[in-house]
């Protein structure tokens, strides 16, 4: 039961990454792929009316975490205090820039909000990337399951670590490239004209850059967490995740070379799912590793809520999930195909 809930919570986070990740990516590339006002509106319209639906996956993840692993939520959120609050501020600015940018047809007004839009998306990709690096590396948990971390200490990966060190920074760089590539692939699917051509070109470069970065962080991960690979080889989910990643990479290449944009975009989603699933399965059951002493680590089995909580959540969660997907399909079916600036003006008037 606890393993299943670990999978559900991971699933919600992964869903958030692939759904909102495309918005981070599209946001970061906004200036590079779109130059005229019309082109920029195309990018915003491509993010569609569902960006807040994407963001709900993060809220759903947070909620599920309190319901099922309350002690993890308490330790991790208070420990990552500064990083999380920065993420919240960036999410606020990003949301506002999408919603109000289109309200006034004025060069200065829109220029300002595009700037906020691009920089908040960029920062979000960095912060989420660094957070992922932190989960992989571990945090300085004490015997009571508490920790607090400044932004940085000595940039080392052992003992009293900070949010940023050489490892988490390289994971953040990897995340920025990955999400940018994901966003570019999405824009290639949803737009036409010059934005489409530039996005396609961007996507190719960014996906090629993923390869050396992936090798780099894999090697680094072995060094930072030598204890993980030994356990991971016995976990079939890890192998399955790797398989998904490899197949997606092949699909991605074929999608781009045959100009099948839907195939490329699906492959991009599955590639991220595969990578994150492999990582998530590899660290299981330790949800938060202690860099001070291994026995301080928080294991899913030790910190889960009581059995009743897991049982009742297992009843209502699938219903909520089915409904959420139903709404998504209903709305998406009405927004299929390339976006049209005229029809999907998202407030640009």
């Amino acid at each position: 039961m606890i393993a299943i809930w670990y999978a559900v919570v991971s699933f919600m986070l992964i869903a958030y990454v692939i759904l909102d990740g495309r918005n981070f990516g599209a946001g970061m590339l906004h200036w590079f792929v779109a130059r005229t006002p019309e082109e920029r509106r195309q990018v915003i319209a491509a993010m569609g009316p569902l960006w807040s639906w994407h963001e709900v996956w993060l809220v759903g993840f947070g909620g599920a975490l309190v319901a099922v692993f309350p002690r993890l939520m308490a330790s991790a959120f208070s420990g990552y205090y500064l990083a999380l609050i920065l993420i919240l501020w960036c999410l606020i600015l990003r949301g506002v820039s999408i919603e109000v940018g289109g309200h006034i047809n004025d060069r200065l007004w829109q220029g300002f909000w595009y700037f906020v839009f691009v920089s908040s998306n960029f920062l979000l990709a960095i912060l989420f990337g660094a957070a992922a690096g932190n989960v992989a590396r571990g945090v300085p948990l004490d015997g009571d399951g508490n920790f607090s971390m400044p932004f940085f200490t000595d940039f080392g990966v052992r003992g009293h670590v900070g949010l940023l060190d050489w490892y988490t920074v390289s994971v953040a760089v990897f995340a920025v490239d990955l999400l940018a590539a994901h966003g570019a692939t999405y824009l290639a699917l949803k737009t036409e004209g010059p934005v489409h051509d530039r996005s396609t070109r961007c996507a190719k470069y960014l996906w090629v850059a993923i390869v050396p970065l992936f090798v780099l962080i894999s090697v680094e991960s072995f060094f930072v967490r030598p204890d993980v690979p030994g356990r991971a080889v016995h976990n079939p989910v890890c192998w399955f995740g790797l398989l998904v990643t490899l197949i997606s990479a092949a699909m991605l290449i074929s999608g781009f070379s045959t100009r099948r944009e839907m195939r490329a975009f699906l492959a991009s989603n599955f590639l991220i799912v595969g990578l994150l699933a492999t990582g998530g399965a590899a660290i299981f059951p330790v949800m938060l590793h202690s860099t001070l002493a291994p026995e301080n680590s928080l294991s899913a089995y030790a910190i889960a809520a009581n059995h009743t909580a897991l049982v009742v959540a297992s009843i209502w969660w699938p219903i909520g999930f089915a409904l959420a997907i139903a709404y998504f399909i209903f709305i998406s079916r009405r927004y299929v195909g390339k976006v049209s600036v005229k029809r999907d003006n998202q407030g640009f008037y």
């Binding site: 005229t36 006002p37 569609g48 009316p49 569902l50 960006w51 807040s52 639906w53 963001e55 709900v56 809220v59 759903g60 947070g62 909620g63 599920a64 975490l65 309190v66 319901a67 099922v68 309350p70 002690r71 939520m73 308490a74 959120f77 208070s78 420990g79 990552y80 205090y81 999380l84 609050i85 919240l88 501020w89 999410l91 606020i92 949301g95 506002v96 919603e99 109000v100 006034i104 047809n105 508490n146 607090s148 809520a305 009581n306 009743t308 909580a309 009742v312 959540a313 209502w316 969660w317 909520g320 409904l323 959420a324 709404y327 709305i331 009405r334 927004y335 998202q346 407030g347 008037y349």
Partner: protein, 466 residues
């Protein structure tokens, strides 16, 4: 609570209170306005009268800005349970996590899926589905309110839990937890109060246009619907929901009731003070002028009944800010009573066909819209200050709930950030909504849109030349 200004616990409390009060300015209008949109869209479908569709289009834009600020300021609320209130999450997360998670799955997915379509998607969806989108958003926003109120009701009146071996709480009976009687009463009370806010805003815009002689048809529509809903909702806030709420507090939180009224000594025929300042150091109400028996009646239904005083209880179970609690409660009931009288008079004038020409009344209705916001805020302050010094009433104290790992430097830094960011958001919100209201709902926006489109095409052509 140690209220020293370098105490991280104080700043965690301040930050939660500030971000929550600010956040709730927006959902109360969302929840209030949503059913107006549903109603007008339904009328448009039934009658085919384009004026209802115009009303929907206009209010959907106001709704959109309001909704966006509500969403972005809402996400920090959930996360602060972990960031600033780790002690409480560790203690009660096994219970309240259920509703926090349900809110995401059942309410947020629903409203966020349909809100974009409601505001921008009329052409994509067609009329019927556009109506459906309005219903989806309204249901989603009210469900969200329900789950949050259940969570709050657990903090006020914990039921459905069991104590685990490590001393923390776990869920025991989900049905009892979700159907907490406190939550059900609070739900009616709070949702009616949100409708009051919505109806006062709709009425105020109607009054504004009428006074300026603009958008006649639309203004009449807003005034008619606004005053009707305003009257019904104001009545519902008082009876039965407010009345039941008071009896609930008298039964389960007698200390809170005594503090709300500044009653230090218990007695029969207890009154409600019309005037009087609580003097906690001297343990009395200064210069009181009371309505005799009113509190006894509110609490127990008879004028003679006995109401407990604060001195019957140990001082460490008293709310830690009796003065603010007292004023919040009194402001809430005063404003609530005024709303009933104002809306009853406005509806009466409307029924006689004299509202449109009653300049004085229109001025009052136009300027009255901030007061429901104040009433909602002080109502929540009454609930939350009254709950102190507990986070879960009778079980877990506030001073044990905050995140011990946070330094005062961390918390002061984030408080400064939130205050600054929310100030900018507020200015932006007022500017955009003010602009929307100044542009108005009328037909001329269509012509304006066409002109704007041509202007845009022109602008982008020029850029190509450059």
């Amino acid at each position: 609570m140690n209220s020293s200004l370098s105490d991280p616990a104080f700043w965690s409390r301040f930050q939660f209170g500030f971000t929550l009060v600010y956040h709730y300015l927006f959902p109360q209008l969302t929840m209030g306005l949503a059913w107006f949109l549903v109603y007008w869209k339904w009328r448009a479908l039934r009658t085919g009268d384009e004026k209802y569709n115009e009303a929907v289009r206009f209010w959907a834009k106001v709704f959109g800005v309001n909704f966006a600020v509500g969403v972005v300021t809402g996400i920090p609320m959930e996360f602060q349970f972990g960031t600033n209130w780790a002690g409480f999450s560790r203690y009660a997360g096994g219970v309240i996590g259920q509703t926090l998670a349900m809110e995401g799955m059942f309410a947020f997915f629903l409203e966020s899926a349909f809100v974009g379509a409601l505001i921008w998607g009329e052409k994509r969806l067609g009329q019927r589905y556009h109506f459906l989108a309005a219903v989806g958003v309204a249901l989603g926003s009210w469900l969200s309110g329900f789950f949050i109120l259940v969570t709050n009701a657990f903090m006020q009146h914990p039921i459905g839990y069991r104590i685990e071996s490590d001393g923390s709480l776990g869920i025991d009976n989900l049905r009892a937890y979700l159907l907490n009687p406190w939550a059900l009463i609070q739900f009616v009370h709070n949702q009616s109060a949100a409708l009051v806010t919505g109806s006062f805003v709709v009425t105020a815009v109607g009054a504004l246009y009428t006074l300026r002689g603009l958008h006649r048809t639309q203004a009449a529509l807003y005034l008619r619907a606004g005053t009707l809903v305003g009257l019904l909702a104001s009545l519902l806030v008082a009876f039965p929901s407010g009345d039941q709420q008071a009896k609930m507090i008298a039964r389960h939180q007698p200390i809170t009731l005594a503090a709300m009224e500044g009653k230090f000594v218990g007695g029969t025929r207890a009154g409600v003070a019309a005037i009087g300042q609580p003097n906690v150091a001297a343990r009395r109400l200064d210069n009181p002028i009371e309505v005799p028996g009113a509190l006894s009646f509110l609490a127990n239904g008879t004028f003679q009944s006995y109401v407990h005083g604060l001195e019957e209880y140990p001082a460490d179970t008293w709310p830690d800010n009796i003065e603010l609690l007292y004023y919040s409660f009194h402001l809430m009931i005063t404003l609530g009573s005024i709303f009933i009288l104002l809306m009853a008079y406005a509806k009466f004038q409307d029924w006689r066909g004299r509202l449109q020409s009653n300049t004085w009344l229109l001025w009052i209705l136009m300027l009255a819209f901030p007061f429901p916001y104040i009433a909602n805020t002080v109502g929540w302050m009454t609930a939350e200050l009254g709950r102190q010094p507990w986070l879960a009433y009778g079980l877990f104290r506030t001073r044990d709930g905050y995140s011990k790992v946070l330094s005062s430097g961390d918390t002061i830094f984030t408080v400064i950030g939130f205050v600054g960011l929310y100030f900018v958001l507020g200015v932006l919100f007022l500017y955009l909504v003010g602009r929307q209201i100044a542009r108005g709902p009328a037909e001329e926006t269509v012509a304006l849109d066409l002109a704007k489109d041509q202007e845009l095409v022109g602008a982008s052509r020029q850029e190509h030349f450059v």
